[in-house]
């Protein structure tokens, strides 16, 4: 039958090469480790103002604020000559700037950084399709819609829909489902 599993084991097999030079290899073991997950996605402006924060693992509020501060400082300090991957604690931070907004995601170690760049790019394309030539102001004034679109694109840190059309379509149909002011007032709450 299925072998037992203990969720709290963080499996890091460390092996020593024959030359004595230690290479750390984080291998996904047969037990215990899940697929590498995106931990969070942040959008912030060049002045460090947060525009969107999506957390895929539970963290206390204070910790979240601290991470946002750290990320902002770290990413804004990078020169444009640098590559888009930063190692931070045990995670890889992949970021990209689109106009005045920085998109910043945190991946667990074995994950594919180049694909993460594609995921962020796709999100920007979806925003663009929905808002029509999206700019930072759109996201400031319609932040809840930015979240709704994101929730149609990603779920639990994974891509749920790879079609550009369907994501926007679902969001728009959900928008239509939102009651008009009249309906809203007339409809009973509970």
């Amino acid at each position: 039958m299925l072998s037992s599993y203990e969720p709290e084991f963080r499996v890091v097999f460390v092996s020593v090469s024959q030359s004595g030079y230690m290479i750390a290899q984080t291998q996904l073991a047969m037990y215990g480790c899940s697929v590498p997950q995106m931990r969070f996605l942040l959008l912030f402006s060049r002045q460090g103002k947060l525009r969107l924060q999506k957390w895929f693992t539970p963290l206390p509020e204070r910790e979240r604020r601290k991470i946002v501060r750290d990320m902002t400082m770290m990413v804004l300090a990078r020169s444009p000559r640098c590559c888009s991957v930063i190692h931070w604690r045990d995670l890889k931070i992949v970021y990209k700037r689109y106009a005045s907004l920085y998109f910043c995601s945190a991946l667990e170690d074995p994950d594919n950084e180049l694909l993460a760049l594609e995921v962020m790019h796709r999100y920007v394309e979806l925003l663009d399709k929905y808002f029509g030539n999206v700019c930072e102001l759109d996201i400031i004034f319609n932040f809840e819609k930015a979240y709704f679109i994101l929730d149609e694109f990603l779920l639990g840190g994974e891509v749920q829909e790879t079609s550009k059309l369907l994501v926007v379509k679902s969001t728009e149909e959900s928008d239509l489902l939102q009651e008009t002011m009249e309906e809203y007032m007339r409809k009973p709450a509970f």
């Binding site: 039958m1 599993y5 030359s19 290479i23 888009s84 045990d90 594609e118 779920l155 790879t162 059309l165």
Partner: protein
Amino acid sequence: MPAPIRLRELIRTIRTARTQAEEREMIQKECAAIRSSFREEDNTYRCRNVAKLLYMHMLGYPAHFGQLECLKLIASQKFTDKRIGYLGAMLLLDERQDVHLLMTNCIKNDLNHSTQYVQGVALCTLGCMGSAEMCRDLAGEVEKLLKTSNSYLRKKAALCAVHVIRKVPELMEMFLPATKNLLNEKNHGVLHTSVVLLTEMCERSPDMLAHFRKLVPQLVRILKNLIMSGYSPEHDVSGISDPFLQVRILRLLRILGKGDDDSSEAMNDILAQVATNTETSKNVGNAILYETVLTIMDIKSESGLRVLAINILGRFLLNNDKNIRYVALTSLLKTVQTDHNAVQRHRSTIVDCLKDLDVSIKRRAMELSFALVNGNNVRGMMKELLHFLDMCDPEFKADCASGIFLAAEKYAPSKRWHIDTIMKVLTTAGSYVRDDSVPNLIQLITNSVEMHSYTVQRLYKAVLDDISQQPLVQVASWCMGEYGDLLVSGQCEEEEPIHVTEDEVLDVLEGVLVSNLSSPITRGYALTAIMKLSTRFSSVNRIKRVVSIYGSSIDVELQQRAVEYNALFKKYDHMRSALLERMPIMEKTTTNGPTEILHTNGEAEPSVRDSKHPPNIPQPSSQANDLLDLLGGNDVVPVIQTELPTKPASSGGELLDLLGDLSLSGVPAPAAPISVSQPTFLLDGISSQPLFNDVAGAIPPMTAYNKNGLKIDFTFERSNSNPNVSVITIHASNLTEVDMADFVFQAAVPKTFQLQLLSPSSNVVPGLNKGTVTQVIKVLNPQKQQLRMRIKLTYTHKGSSVQDLAEVNNFPTQSWQ
């Protein structure tokens, strides 16, 4: 009561604030209004108010008083309310607080709602922040939705199931029946999420993995169709069809093919196809290629395919895009052990990356360069690495210096080259060299007998120019103290001898003593060196004067030394020459290659030493450095990446112990009534603790594993430098008749621990218990939790390869308390 202002109105108003104080005032006013509105249980404007609260929360203001309101919104019948309510829940509610459990019933109802978008938003919330209890309660609903024909819901249910499995792994089995037909879907969204779900299940359970292996042909077919299919506008990214799905399939294939010949063979063709046909001009193509390379390297692919993969990485290295160069270096680092020769072919490109402007790339290139150094290329590589050491940022210098020392030690073509290399490192990056390098170097120099005059001459010239780099000055002082006579006599075979007088040497050493640049440790070295010269030089009076001056030094350490040396002059002059004799050669008790980390103290009597103490006592002082690495002192290095000096340390310990080393090794000191008290160790930065562990005897050993003739015992020591570190030595013995070759021991510990494995003594366990393989494990246990370990053993025995996993739970309590 006027209607609360609209969300966008509020945003506009807040943005007009010119100062932080003004903004805070506006926010406080609005929060007060919102609070009173909540108190009035206003259904009409609750949604608007919560939305405004979420905006203010994003600006950094507290919003916890809105948590219950979110729950009310979720319970509402209006879709507008639900949408904002669930969003608020995801942002404000925390699974740590019990209040989130109140959502469970609402979510349950919504999962059964007649409108798919309501079901969707409930699934999304559950899949994003559902706690373990919620997942347990609602797993059944998710499972039901996984079987629906509505693809919009099915894809969300699949990812929700992934989240449930992550939170409550025991529930994995219940999703198994629903996975039956997942891959038969045409809808890309469902396909993608199904592949993610299958991947999650396979990663967590070997039984699932075996069960799903039969899907390999189907996955290969799907991938093939994706590549061959025509242009599909909705999934296309720069000419590639659905790269997200391609990458996920490749990843699942990697997991299914790992260690399995048949599956690996079934996917060989498609991997070759993807590797050769994918367009590489844009990032998206490279993302797929990258995943393909990772898959090829992990499964049992044929050698042609592996070479293809490494060549792709080589091409990546030449790409203009920095990100691609970066991932190439990372992957090459992972493969350099298994495919060393193939990676060697790209050595020159890798070395060029040392000159890259990007910090992350430089670091990867440096690590990879060190891994590629071998006997053939050591001269060339060292030149490049020394150049790098000169030019690089300070954050790299320590690691680079250590790496160079390691590599030089292993592959030095000649002693002179070795010493020259060390000199270059000391002069280029002298202040960044790790503390434990100084004793190592001193030992190296001592053992290269024929190079003594050359070495001391070069060191002398170096400190004439610059006395600011402490490690350089320390080594130089020590050498001048030891070999000052050679320096003055002007005998040097390797180089043009220089003319140095005794006074000039003493000038330099006194200069070090008085200089502001010298650290207390360096001063200690200098004073001792001057003292040693009293038996080698004739200007004893000058030395006597210096020593007596420092007898009243403010620095206690210097004072003590000076007083003792003074006493040597006055009362024990007859012993002086014997005590200050030339240092004997220190036998290295380890060999190069897969070495044990053997750090022995004074080797004045190596044979006595060996019989007195078991060979595997790890060196606490260098552990201090390794532990710092373990504790994540270095941001840039992922996981555990520590440099392990493979040579035994500390002839430096002897430095202080001119008199004391004799007593430590058990040979009675020649009646030296001069107290060399233990505290002097502490002030010598080289070894700050006594090097032996009395506690060794206190923790009973245990048998960790005993199966099929392979027995593994654990013995324990406590590290002196850190009470949270347990040092475990494994002793593997083989009771069968046949040797066990290619023996590899691996270990894993729970998340709250950290683990460091040092080099094994060998990888052959000889049969009939003729010998043991030993290896040292260091476990950091800051929370003092019960120690548990999973071990993985692989070896070849009687021609076949054996692999076994086991759990070790019977640790004696003293080992972790």
